[in-house]
Symmetry: D4
Subunit: 228 residues, 8 copies
């Protein structure tokens, strides 16, 4: 079953352990709503990212139970069941301006059935705030650390906690931030190990990676290899 | 107990689940050998990365059982015990020129007590070779995908296998490769989800991240939070 | 015969095998319409690229048969006769967001008298979709492959099909896409041979190159060398 | 049949119309000689690019008939039969410093069975030299235009000749040439159409693309699509 | 005598041979008008660059004889007397989109009392057009060559004419033009000598340099060195 | 009094509070020795930076009391008297590879008569080491923080200590470090205030700035303004 | 005491010698007003930077005595007492377009209780203007030098005055200014010593650094080291 | 008459007013000597730039009167007669490290028959030195200003002297100099007018432009336009 303007991959939920997501940028509201219908008809939850309020309204007209996560720019209809690993994902955020990206990660994780713990506004120039939350972070299974500007927070967190750290640079900043490049380079050259990095502002991608890690920990079977 | 020219962090093995590693670049052979002695005296295995044959000879003079991994530019003395997750790490490599980086990842993982499966010379321009190995990759717990030039291999692998994929760009290539930048950007902007990225040529960092993921899956306890 | 604000090169159709095209950016609607009149008066078809609806309305006022290709941002009046090579051009597109560029290539080719086959939404992270279309691509004479983000699709296609592949990076993406730079670098450093590259978003240029290849295959005589 | 350190793709000659090439960078002389043996045992010609004199000596020890193309940094043993299109490839070169790249293109083409015409030292600041050769260029089926510094030659050539033009930027130059970036950008933004571009210094890639174009013109059948 | 928000340098006309110019960007219309009054009160002509129609209206309210050069974004009130060298400045322009920058150069030169000859829409992909105008260019004393995209025109012009050539890259183009960077690099790495370059879109700066050259040729005395 | 190949500014010691320094790069050993003689003849101490052992030997031949600071690549003969502020400069260093730059800063400061406190190998991924030294840092008047890779250390230090922090990025690192660019951008975009930045590897410049700050605190009179 | 959407660090005034500042970008007007209330309730002055008139109105509704510094884009309520060093900060500005950044520095300094001297519109191409003001600059304790375009002013100033110089590049300019990058690089590579640099347009950061220098000169005690 | 490996353009002396120059990079010593012979046989002087001592020895074997300008890396045999404008070219140089580039400009000018005045080691951080030489500069017809690092000298010079200023950035510097990019950007964005720029380290190009300006001032006839 397909919408006429895009191939919808209904097999992905079985194959990869989580539903296909709708990336709204460059899609008309009606198109997003139509893809949502195809997904729901197949019994799947819906997660639409990079959505505008126009996208939300189009989806909500069809599914009144749709939820609008404004700061995260996400629309959800339903959610996957719990993933079963027993671990939460810690979503850590350097400044309040980084919240939209951290929220995108959190909303995505919850739509995928993962539990999320949040720690916000803990920049490296004020270590006290971070150290207060470190106990909670140590109990998480994987950490998503979101930061703009110099992007130093993942290095510090990975030095304190021994779990996998997924770093998300944000485009927050000005001048020599170069739209997130400074943070991106800082994270890639981190002196801490266990840090891996996703694209600038890609809270969604970080959530997908964290989800895959926890599914492994929950001993989810992998997808079947494609038959040839 | 410390060497006089660098602080050796003996507590890391307990705190973070794996021994401190010696980064040889900018260190004299004698300095590396001395740090190795400190680590061995504390009962820890030794992994020295970015080593030259000179570094190896200095270590081997003290520890004749030291092993020289030439292409990986690593020296090992002993290894950690098995990590216990039951999963192997799949180390996939686009071209033969990328082997030094893939080897660094593999040697590191084995020094950390992880099992490694290898798939080599499977560039995206020859899908047959990759598809032949996909069954083995699906059985791994996490994949490290190493590629230079356009760096497209992680995208293709992540589309076929549902486990976490750690992408390692290499500086292999010329012209518009810009020393690995093309591969790095390609991996960061991957259309596949579940892909996270480490620094150019950073096989060691990818191994550390994979190790942390498998330790989580093996239900290793996290490090204790630092007391204040 | 010339319009007063730009030299119109009426000789190009004979000399180069296809009509002069109007690049609308930076031209007023009335200017575009006036150039169209000059071309039509010389018996030539009209192709206006990077057009706005304002440009279209100005042309349509003079030539009611003008066609508005909205997503391709092109206006056409008439078309050249069939080019005679017997081959079609395959226009392949990684994601739905790349469609405006793929459409510009397709509209241009049809205005030049070439036959076009389309394959859409076949990103490298979902190889199944691509492999389903490979038979059709193998029958084409030349392929135009349009992709943003990591730009890996041309490498994969060129590994499967032995015809010339013209890669078009698009500015689709965010963060480390850098407005198409990631895709551009990926295509330039492709590990596949037979791939050549045009400017970011330059569907028109890719079409011109494909057209020249098929004219050669159709044994069109070259233009006369300029007399001195 | 395979060499133990790399998978040799013997099927490529049938599938893609020309033999596999050996990229020597990062390979030991003995490895290159061994791959050459595998190829010759399968009845194929050998083309080794980016070769050093050490690579040549290793191959010549096994195959005394091997030819050393010093400036092109290539080794050949045998060559493919004529491709049959009746057209030559024009290889045009802006300055004498660009000759190594132009030679790599020419040697590759001849190894693939294509006929080559050369035009050398025709920079855009001395149009007379270029205009003298334009008649010969117009008779070619496809043009490879090699230039460093500002890379303007392909634009000028494509304005004079109506065949496909493949532009090769070279790393020749200093300062703001940035190792070929200035030429690369100049070629990508060419105001002339029919120009496509390959990587900096990639004479080999340009030759592969030109070869594919002439094979199409010679009505060579495409490769079979891969069976699934 | 000064306006209160900026120091107006009335001595520059004597010291440097031409009046101070008003750069309007970042200045309010009223501020520009006030500076114009100060200049006129000192008997000097007015040239305001990067002006909006709002700036023009403010000046025209005070000086009804003010002229609005729309495409050049300049306002002039009066002009300097003829410079006396006997030579004109040739202002050459690659495409119609480059006209605003070429116009800024021409308006500036005329305000400085220089004579201007124009040659427009002579891109390097259509040499015929350029060669038709070369006789006129050879009679000029200095040439300003304005081009965007690959910026090859100054190289070609300097190969044909033996006078000083001032190259002006423009921000015209898209994708790999990078807002004029491709043209800038092309001009800096020109294989032609006698080419010097100014900032992207800086028609005004090119005019100032050309003016200084012709004043030298007219044997204008230099400014007095500042007394200490 | 001058050496014949360079103007030696003997007045600077009086005018600016510290002696002229010799930057050795691009100077012959004999030239450096000759400048040293001129300085000593005027009763000034000598500091030569970016020196090779060849430079040292040439100076030591004339002044046997010259000191060779190998890792700092500096030669000193004598030193200025104590600056009198009562404060020390804290020189903090992230990794052992950064020591040459930190040493250049320390040697320079001591040559200028400042007291130096050192803290070494305190990367942000191991906060314990840094926190152990924070008491000493709080007693300093100004801090120079040297770091390569992600360059996060100045942010963390400035969050803990309220004195001026001068950040020095180093070229230590590989891949996305881009020769110190990652560290430079990280320091420029620091979320901590009171951080200012000098050029990559510029330990000397950081020392000069710290020296000027402490001279102000010591109430040194400024230089006289130049008479006109 | 905290606002619910951000942690307000009331301890900073004691710990670091000056109040916490509100960075308005990305914060809603009501959020800024609420943080201001928290600060005022703790007896602290308020400085809000990067404010819009909307932010001002929200603050002024609560504190009618709030002041709107339009060009500096700052809101202040109250100010700290005099810092006591006896020195002023000289704020020097190359062009009138750089005034918003210079004003941000000046407003910040006054909110921190520092005295400010201004010198405006003294670009390096008109040295007379600068030399007229040099006497005043020599009396200041520290200089903030703000410049866009080529950013040469700090080099010239530091050559004339022996106090610490903090350079602030601005994003003023076009073309090869690259949004302040040209000025930034110019300042980082200054041939003058004693120059340190902050981020592009970061007048606030320069003021913080200058404030810390004068507090040192006034013998303010440092913050207490954090207890562990 | 031609050498077999390169077309020698003997007509250029008549056509463009000065002899063809030999760019030695990438040419063998024997090739350079052979081209010199061709030029001398045509009665022309020889200027070989970017020469090594090997190139010099090859030329000196044929022409014992050849002169080796070591720091300028130039070889000359003979020189053109005086150009007749009556003006000298002022060659100004910021630091002693910039001398090779300044020398290349001076040697080139003298080979072209121009008179040269030199001013050396006059960086902007020491204005006194520059102001001492300003009288001499004011008497020159055109100025070549050579500077590395921040490249601010041309701005200051052009503010003091009203003649055309040709700025030459050099690759002198480290870190954020980026091989001359900082100086290049500084010169392109100069706040002074009358400044035009050539490529990094291109002393030769600056000399050619200055030569063309003085030939114009000397009323040399232009070259004939090429006949068609």
């Amino acid at each position: 079953m397909t919408a006429e303007f895009a191939r919808v991959d209904l097999g992905r939920a079985e194959r990869c352990g989580r539903p296909e997501t709708i990336f709204c940028e460059g899609k008309l509201p009606g198109e997003v709503a139509r893809i949502a219908e195809v997904l729901r008809a197949a019994g799947q939850p819906v997660l639409a990212t990079r959505a505008t309020s126009g996208h939300f309204r189009a989806v909500a007209e069809v599914f009144p139970e749709a939820v609008w996560h404004e700061r995260a720019r996400c629309v959800t209809v339903g959610a996957a069941g719990p993933s079963g690993s027993g671990f939460a994902v810690g979503v850590v955020c350097a400044g309040t301006s980084d919240l939209p990206v951290a929220d995108e990660a959190a909303v995505t994780l919850e739509a995928f059935g993962q539990r999320v713990e949040r720690l916000t506004d803990v920049g490296v120039a004020g270590l006290d705030r971070l150290l207060d939350g470190i106990g909670m972070l140590c109990a998480c299974g994987v950490l998503i650390v979101v930061a703009g500007m110099e992007g130093a927070l993942p290095s510090v967190v990975a030095g304190l906690v021994s779990r996998p750290v997924i770093a998300v640079p944000t485009s927050v900043g000005y001048g020599a931030s170069f739209g997130g490049v400074a943070a991106l380079l800082g994270m890639l050259t981190s002196c801490a190990t266990r840090v891996t990095v996703v694209n600038i502002d890609n809270g969604f991608g970080a959530a997908c990676a964290a989800d895959a890690i926890l599914r492994l920990a929950a001993d989810c079977p992998p997808c079947d290899p494609p038959t040839r």
